[in-house]
């Protein structure tokens, strides 16, 4: 008990003694972990969007429902389906009724009730969803079926998705890359801070070693000092993401209606990873800093 009190008071004392340095460490951890968290959340976003889209639909053939063009007749629809199935570049065809389109939409945007409320079963068009043997052959489909009666529009949905994914992946990789560099910089800063702290207390440390204090007992206050700073940085950066990300995705969801977006749940899910990264880098760099200093 007394030992833990000593370790903790030494660690906090160290942080207080060198307030400016502690602040720099916390700030640097905050910046790197904010980027790390943002990168991870972007990954989540990509996964969420990809899960929803990939392996489902490559080409959508939206059908007329009297709102933009005369509604497709049952006969026209059956012919369209037969011709689609007969077309060699088509691997798979399935029909999505207005009802199914509506159900999928409500599921996709379950966390955005206002969006769901604005829509009813009649709003969304029915469609054929077509999977191609080779997605590059989209042109064939467009040429053959665009003029069919009752076809409103043919959309290669991969275009939309790919653009979004390419952009998101780029941003994510950038964020993770910079986060990694920042995290390294934070580690160096922590190591340096701990070295300064250990130097400031070198007399005490030397005496402790000479009277036979165990190695962990000599080191722990310094490591804990680093860990506290790392954990504080993680907490602040997580707070930033918690405040900002749901707001941003809510705005985005309003602009981009076709995609599901991450929300508070995903931000909460990355908290342990960020904490582990902050504490981990702090512990590692503190120990590395002490390796030379407090040996013998």
């Amino acid at each position: 008990m007394a030992r833990w009190r000593y370790v903790l008071s030494e660690a906090l004392g160290g942080l207080r003694r060198n307030l400016l340095m502690s602040f720099a460490v916390i700030l640097s951890v905050t910046v790197s972990l904010t980027l790390l968290g943002a990168g991870l959340l972007l990954s989540e976003q990509v996964d969420l969007a990809t899960d929803d889209w990939t392996g489902r639909v490559e080409v959508s053939i939206f059908l007329c429902d009297d709102r933009t063009c005369p509604a497709i007749t049952t006969e026209q629809r059956q012919r369209l389906q037969q011709d689609l199935e007969a077309q060699p570049v088509v691997a798979e065809v399935f029909y999505e009724s207005k009802r199914e389109a509506y159900d999928r939409f409500t599921r996709l945007f379950a966390d955005q009730p206002t969006l769901v409320e604005a829509i009813d079963v009649a709003t969304l068009p029915a469609s054929f969803r077509v999977k191609l043997e080779n997605p590059a052959l989209f042109g064939v489909i467009r040429e053959q079926f665009a003029a069919y009666p009752g076809v409103e529009e043919i959309v290669d949905q991969r275009d939309v998705l790919n653009q979004f994914l390419r952009f998101t992946t780029l941003v994510r990789n950038g964020a993770l890359g910079v986060a990694l560099i920042q995290l390294l910089a934070a580690g160096v800063l922590i190591a340096n801070t701990i070295r300064v702290a250990a130097y400031a207390r070198r007399e005490q440390t030397a005496i402790m070693k000479l009277v036979g204090a165990s190695n962990w007992y000599v080191r722990l206050p310094f490591v804990l000092e680093g860990i506290i700073a790392g954990a504080l940085g993680a907490a602040v950066s997580w707070g930033v993401l918690y405040a900002a990300v749901p707001r941003v995705t809510r705005d985005l969801a309003r602009e981009v209606e076709l995609l599901p977006f991450i929300g508070v749940d995903q931000v909460i899910a990355v908290a342990p990873i960020m904490l582990a990264a902050g504490v981990g880098i702090a512990a590692l760099s503190s120990l590395a800093a002490l390796r030379r200093f407090i040996h013998v």
């Binding site: 007399e203 000479l210 009277v211 204090a213």
Partner: protein, 232 residues
Amino acid sequence: MIRLEGVTKTFRRGRDGEVTALDDVSVEVTKGEFVFVVGPSGSGKSTLMRLLTREQRPDDGEVWVAGKNLRRLRSWKVPLLRREIGYVYQDFKLLPTKSVRENVSFALEVIGRRRSEIRERVPEVLELVGLTEKSDAMPHELSGGQQQRVSVARAFVNNPRLLLADEPTGNLDPGTSVEIMKLLDRINRTGTTVVMATHDQAIVDSMRRRVVELEEGRVVRDQSRGVYGYGG
């Protein structure tokens, strides 16, 4: 208590210079002895002391302290070795922000002794070194001799089997030095082995204890009830 067998230790100096601090040194100290290690600066006294606490390791030869072979001692066990050794420095090495009592308590706290034990033991030791009245004083309020007595108290508070003193009177005037020597003598009489490195001729001559003399890293004399030097 201590056994050195053929101990050699060299240090690199500069680019290709090598200094032999100890050269094939063999010494044995039995339990309860009082031994002076004498010799001019650079003769290897300090290196010898540092080998005994495993601050340094020999290049060659064996070092045994308190039944432990220091060559084979795992590094995580070094703290346990040092709990059996009290160490007194020439420059006292007291923590300036702690009082006399706290400086002594510190040595017990950091090895995880119980509070109740610390409360009992620290006043005993402060009484032994005659500083009961100065318990709450800060180191800078004390004279050199008093500070060294605090340092001795700290070294002895854990009841070590071995007390090492590296030039403990080096910063003190002759009168104060005698006080410290009386203190070390009393500690020795409790059964604690004392090894003291010094070049204080008057003290060695007056104590008439065993003298091990080093010169350029070699033992040139090992004499029970000796004096500092033949030629003076």
